[in-house]
Amino acid sequence: MTENKNQPIITVKDLSIFYKTFRAVKNVDLEIFENKITAIIGPSGCGKSTVLRSFNRMNDFIPGASIQGNILFHDKNIYDEDVDPVQVRRMIGMVFQKPNPFPKSIYENIAWGAKMNGFSGNMDDLVEKTLQDAALWDEVKDELNKNALSLSGGQQQRLCIARALAVKPEIILMDEPCSALDPIATLKIEDLMRELSHNYSIIIVTHNMQQAARASDMTAFFTMDEDRAGVMVEYGLTTQIFTNPKNKQTEDYITGRFG
C-alpha cells in the first residue's frame, strides 16, 4: 500500500481555522488519497472535527467561523468565491457523530437527498442499491415504510451512510461515526467502511485509536499547541504511525501515555 500510486483527491495547504478571533486550527498541510480510508486522531479539542467539517464547508453554518489557506478538491479551492457550497456538499458527503436520520420512513430517508439533487432514475432501484451498499438491505427490505427512528442505533447510522451514498458523493466524511454505538455495531460500520473504500474515499475522525489502527489506511495525528490551537503532528501510513511513529508526541499518544 504505497501512497504514490494514488493522486491526492484533497490537498490541504496551510489551513488555519478561526472561530471569531480564536484560532482553532493552525497551519495544517494534508493530502487525502483516493479510495483510501484516512483517519484523523488526537485528543479532545485539537480541532479534528473542525478540520473535517471544513472539507465540505459545514463550518459555514457556525457564526464567526472563517478559514485561511486552501483546500483543493480536484485542484480547485472549495473556498473560492465562485464555488457553490451546496455542490461541494453533494460531492463530499457527511456522516455525523450521532445517528441523525430524518423522522420519516426508511425509504424517504434515502430518496429525499437524491430527489433534492435532481435524481430522475428509478428511485426504488436506487434505494435498494444504496441500502445494499450500506449492508442494511437484508435487515430492512420488508419494512421500508417504517419510521427510521424505530431502527437501532447501528442501523440508523448505516442508514445515514446509505443516505449519503444515494447522493453519489466522491468522498464521505465521518465524524466519530461509532462513538454512540456498541462494539458490534461499531465493527459492522468498520467492515462497511472497508467495503465502501473500493468506490469512495473516506475520511474519519475518531477518538478510538484501535479503530484507527484497524480500519484506516492513512492516519493523521493532531494535537494542541500551547495556545490551544490544533496542529497536525504527524501524517503517514497507519501501519507506520502505529508501529514506528517518528514524533515523540505521537508515540506518547498512541501508547496511551497521554490524551
Partner: protein
C-alpha cells in the same frame, strides 16, 4: 460495628420529621392552588348554565289553539300561509311579502313567522335553572296570581333556532346567527392573514437573521408587543385600517362602500396585528427547538437552506407552531375592545356577506345584552356565552387534531 450502627441510627432520623412536615405543607398548598382554579372554573360554568336554562312565564297575544286545532308544527305550508293572511292586516301582509315572499319560505320559517306576527309570545318573567328545579310550585303560584292569562314553560335559551335566527331586539325571538357568522368570518380571515406572516417572520428571525444588535432589538420588541393591551391595537386599527386605508378596507376600490371602513376586513387586519406577536414568538420557539442535527443532516446531503427549512425544519416545528396559533386564535375570538373601536355594529340583523360587510361578534353581543335592563337579555347573554365557548372548543379541537396529525408523522 454496634457503635457504628447506633451512630447511624441517631443520624438516620435526621430532619426527617421536619422535612416531611414542610413537604406536606407545600404539597397541600399546591393542591389548594389547583383546587381553587378548578373551583373557579366550575362556578363560572355553573353560573352560565344556571342562567341559560329555566322556567319562563309566557303570555301569548293570540292563543295558538284559536288559530288551528292542531299544533302549528304539524300544519302544511298552505294552511300556515292562510292563517297568516287571515290574521294580519293587508298592509302588514304586503310588507311581509315584500321582505320575504311567503311562497318561498320553508315550513319551519312559516311557523316562525306565524309565531312572531300573530301569536307574539312575550316573556313576562324568567327564572334561573336552580329556582326552576327547586321551586316550581312557587313559580306556578306566581303565574296564577299575577299573570292568569300566561303559561309556564321550561325554556332552554340556547336552542337550534337561537343559533339560526338573526339578531332581534326582542329577547324572545332573537338569535345569534349574525354575531356567530361575524365571529367566524373575522377569525378565518385573521388566521389567513396572520398565520403565514407570523411563520414567515419567525423563519426569518430564526434561520436567516444574524445575531446582531438590530435583530436583538426586533426580537425583544416582538416580545413586548405581545403584552400590549388590546385596546391600543384597536386604536391603531381605527387610525390605520378604518381611516387611513379606508379606500381599501371599505371596498371602495372595487366599488362597494356600505360600511365606511368598519368592515370585517378592518377588524381582521386589526386582529392580525394583535395576534401576530403571539404567533411569531411561539413559532420562533418551535423552530428553535428543532434539533440542529436535523439541519446538519439535510445540509450534509447537499440541500439548500430553503429545502432544509421547507422539508425538515417546518414539519418538525409544525406542532409547536400550531399550539401557538391555537392560543392566539383563542385570544382573538374573545377580544371585544379593539373591535368596538374598529366599529363593530352594536345591532345589525343582516348577515355578513363578505370582507366588506358590517359585522358584529359574539363577545360584543354578549356585552350589549348584559347592559340591557330587561332580565331576559341576561338569559340570552348566558346562552351566547355558551355558544362562544362551544365555538372556541370546536376550533381548539380542530387545531389539536391537526397538531396530533403532525406529531404522529414525526414520531410513529
Amino acid at each position: 460495628m454496634n457503635k457504628n450502627n447506633s451512630i447511624f441510627e441517631s443520624r438516620a432520623q435526621g430532619n426527617l420529621k421536619k422535612r416531611h412536615r414542610v413537604s406536606k405543607i407545600w404539597r397541600s398548598s399546591f393542591f389548594l392552588s389547583t383546587t381553587i382554579g378548578i373551583f373557579s372554573l366550575v362556578i363560572l360554568l355553573f353560573s352560565i348554565i344556571n342562567q341559560a336554562f329555566g322556567y319562563v312565564i309566557v303570555e301569548n297575544n293570540v292563543d295558538p289553539a284559536s288559530l288551528s286545532s292542531m299544533p302549528l308544527q304539524s300544519l302544511e305550508r298552505e294552511e300556515l300561509i292562510s292563517i297568516l293572511q287571515e290574521n294580519v292586516s293587508k298592509n302588514r301582509f304586503k310588507t311581509i311579502q315584500r321582505d320575504n315572499p311567503v311562497e318561498e319560505l320553508k315550513r319551519s320559517e312559516l311557523v316562525g313567522l306565524v309565531t312572531s306576527e300573530i301569536i307574539k309570545p312575550t316573556t313576562l318573567k324568567s327564572y334561573f335553572l336552580i329556582p326552576s328545579l327547586t321551586n316550581k310550585a312557587e313559580i306556578i303560584r306566581t303565574q296564577q296570581d299575577e299573570f292568569p292569562n300566561a303559561v309556564v314553560q321550561f325554556r332552554s335559551w340556547i336552542s337550534p333556532s337561537f343559533l339560526t335566527d338573526p339578531l332581534s331586539t326582542n329577547p324572545d325571538t332573537t338569535g345569534i346567527r349574525t354575531a356567530l357568522l361575524g365571529s367566524l368570518w373575522i377569525i378565518v380571515v385573521t388566521v389567513i392573514i396572520a398565520f403565514p406572516i407570523g411563520i414567515g417572520a419567525a423563519i426569518y428571525l430564526e434561520e436567516y437573521s444574524s445575531n446582531n444588535w438590530l435583530s436583538r432589538i426586533i426580537k425583544t420588541n416582538i416580545d413586548n408587543l405581545a403584552g400590549i393591551p388590546s385596546i391600543v391595537y384597536g386604536l391603531l386599527g381605527l387610525a390605520i385600517f378604518v381611516r387611513g386605508l379606508n379606500l381599501i378596507t371599505s371596498g371602495a376600490f372595487i366599488g362597494i362602500d356600505q360600511s365606511n371602513g368598519r368592515t370585517i376586513l378592518s377588524a381582521a387586519l386589526t386582529m392580525s396585528l394583535l395576534i401576530l406577536p403571539l404567533i411569531i414568538i411561539n413559532a420562533q420557539e418551535a423552530i428553535r427547538a428543532v434539533p440542529s442535527s436535523l439541519r446538519q443532516a439535510s445540509y450534509g446531503l447537499g440541500a439548500t437552506r430553503l429545502q432544509t427549512i421547507w422539508y425538515h425544519v417546518l414539519p418538525a416545528a409544525m406542532p409547536g407552531i400550531l399550539t401557538g396559533t391555537i392560543l392566539a386564535v383563542s385570544r382573538a375570538i374573545g377580544e371585544t375592545a379593539p373591535l368596538i373601536l374598529v366599529g363593530a355594529s352594536s345591532f345589525i340583523n343582516k348577515d355578513p356577506s363578505g370582507l366588506f360587510s358590517n359585522f358584529t361578534v359574539l363577545p360584543i353581543q354578549i356585552y350589549n345584552w348584559t347592559t340591557r335592563p330587561q332580565a331576559e337579555f341576561r338569559n340570552v347573554a348566558a346562552a351566547s356565552i355558551l355558544v362562544l365557548l362551544i365555538v372556541l372548543l370546536t376550533l381548539n379541537t380542530a387545531a389539536i387534531l391537526l397538531r396530533n396529525h403532525f406529531s404522529k408523522n414525526k414520531a410513529a
